[in-house]
Symmetry: C2
Subunit: 376 residues, 2 copies
């Protein structure tokens, strides 16, 4: 078999061997003390990564299932203000439309959120606010703390998608006033895809709908998780839980502050490379917004074709991401999340630098060297 | 590490090594040709096991997610007749209540379904009918073909849960007129828990709601599965798909008819043991209903305590199931599904026979010997 491609997209990400091997063991009963202990290990570490003491449950499903669980349980028939400056913000808006009276507070992709419009919506009675903390599609980090402050002021519930920040960047769900925070397994946690983690504040619990969906009924998950042994209401994806437990133990061993510092350094390295190459970072940031610490989006120089550039990188065994939807061909994105560190970043930047040259663009300087300066 | 327990419950079941090891490889991109090919392999084999040429999609979630997908997509705001003679029939009824005007057609658990009441509901305008083909909680096989005939006569949609029959017993979804059939990965397919497979007829497609849930939107799954490469609309649980592909290849290698014959023989062996022990099978069957071919439920003799009996079996390294809800302590259930064969069945029956004796019951004869006669 050929060597696997190195995935340097904003998820899925390479999975450490210990995590992968945890899935190869024989099936265990999901109503056993052993499974319950594995679930408890996950929750303990995840609460630290979320920055929360709230209840936290794990759903067998993708991050999107977690998003829908949040909205379907607390936003049904309510006024929902959806902050949008990228693809995943749009997705939260689309889900919100299926459950309540959703208003899209739209900024151009990759530009700051319109917090004045949010204030106006809150004053007009918005009861729920949705936010993507780290908008993967454009590489921008949105001001969760500020949004949380506004939500509290107006007693609105704050639903935050932390799918590509939790476990790789500073997240303080409780301090920021997040009522429901969501993450996915295959991003900064470096576990396999297929699990969504959802934390729920007591405020959110008090405001839950009496008519939730069945599979995504958060009250049912909370109830099963509060028993001995800890359980899920429906059969969980057992191997994924065992893998997640190993991934959480690795986070514990590295230490969350060190892990976050590593992520921030990797993103700085990619940003330094872009600057040296003379490429613009795609997001337009301001005092409240920042570049993502887990994925860096940069603009293609004129004349460089997306398929060609990423094709050359892929031939060297590395997958980076292009733009999504209307940004296809305009930007490319390098993920730096999970278990990767200097070797993977340097290899990716070297391959990218080579591909840019092959595609006819002459980088201003050596991005790889600039990144090494940051990482070394 | 201690040896894993042998799971002889009605799922999860032991997973063949080849299937487990498929999960230990590095993450692959779920938007790649390689992932698409794995998904296509699954669908090709699963269509045979379902007995269908309809579209078939795989959802990252448990069987319950598949059940809800079926109901939420075609039964919203409709009149739903739910056939119930066990726990999982009740679950379909509970899910149906969240989406439409559901009527429970209730029989005592483990007794034949009331098809006269179904006829009356259909005549009164029921638009959707839900059925558990193999009711795991009580070990009864329900008459899917007959239910399908009635649904067609009255132009109602027929939703069939085949979670513990598909891949282990004869299922002819198209011949029986099933509009949506559902199965789960961790039962007769002997793959890990966490995936639901759903087949959808063109009739069901024509009647889909315009307001489906988001994560369980069957139209979105069908659309993504029809592309090149085959995809899922949201990030799938990649390792579980790779495992399912191996499990499907194993089904192909064994041959579906041989696999079904093996399951039927194993169930006959367990039934023969029960008879020899002098224990009553729990289900009350008639000309249309039958004993399950994948799980056998039998009544405890007077004086034998569930915890004691199953505790002794577990001490010997084997897990069998007790009764659920009001049947707790009254019955026990031996699963015979997936990749197991004579050795696992014989060991389980020998341990059970020993445990019955230790609990003060003197079996009439040697059930293990009777089972060996069937299996040999």
């Amino acid at each position: 078999m050929e060597k696997e491609l190195l995935l340097m997209m904003p998820g899925p990400v390479p999975i450490p061997e210990r995590v992968r091997l945890a899935m190869s063991r024989q099936a265990i009963n999901h109503r056993s003390a052993e499974f319950g202990a594995a679930y408890a290990d996950c929750v303990r570490v995840l609460k630290t990564a979320f920055g929360t003491t709230n209840d936290l449950v794990v759903i067998s499903g993708s991050g999107t299932a977690g998003m829908e669980a949040a909205i379907a349980n607390v936003a049904r028939d309510k006024k929902i203000a959806c902050l949008v400056n990228g693809k995943f913000g749009e997705r939260l808006y689309k889900i919100s439309q299926r459950y309540g009276q959703a208003t899209e507070i739209k900024s151009e992709w990759g530009t700051p959120l319109n917090l004045d419009a949010l204030r106006a919506q809150l004053e007009a009675g918005a009861q729920v606010v949705t936010l993507i903390h780290n908008e993967t599609s454009v590489g921008i980090k949105n001001p969760a703390e500020e949004v949380g402050r506004l939500c509290r002021k107006h007693d609105a519930l704050f639903l935050m998608d932390g799918i590509t920040s939790i476990g790789g960047d500073t997240v303080e769900a409780d301090k920021w006033g997040v009522d429901i925070a969501i993450t996915g397994s295959q991003k900064c946690l470096a576990a396999p895809a297929g699990l969504a983690m959802v934390s729920v504040s007591s405020r959110a619990c008090e405001r839950m709908t009496k008519n939730p969906p069945f599979y995504l009924d958060l009250a049912a998950y909370r109830k099963s998780a509060s028993g001995t042994p800890m359980e899920t209401p429906y059969t969980p994806a057992v191997p994924l839980f065992l893998a997640l437990r190993e991934a959480c133990l690795l986070i514990d061993e590295e230490g969350l502050p060190a892990r976050i510092a590593r992520h921030q350094k990797m993103a700085k390295a990619v940003q330094a490379a872009a600057k040296e190459w003379g490429l613009s970072l795609f997001p337009k940031i301001d005092a409240l917004h920042n570049y993502s610490s887990t994925v860096t989006a940069m603009e293609y120089p004129a004349g460089v074709k997306d398929d060609d550039m990423r094709g050359i990188v892929k031939k060297m065994g590395i997958v980076i991401a292009g733009g999504q939807d209307h940004l296809k061909g305009k930007i490319f994105r390098i993920g730096s999340m999970g278990a990767v560190s200097a070797p993977e970043i340097l290899a990716t930047l070297a391959a990218t630098q080579h591909a840019l040259k092959k595609c006819g663009y002459t980088p201003k300087g050596c991005g790889v060297g600039a990144a090494a300066e940051v990482l070394g």
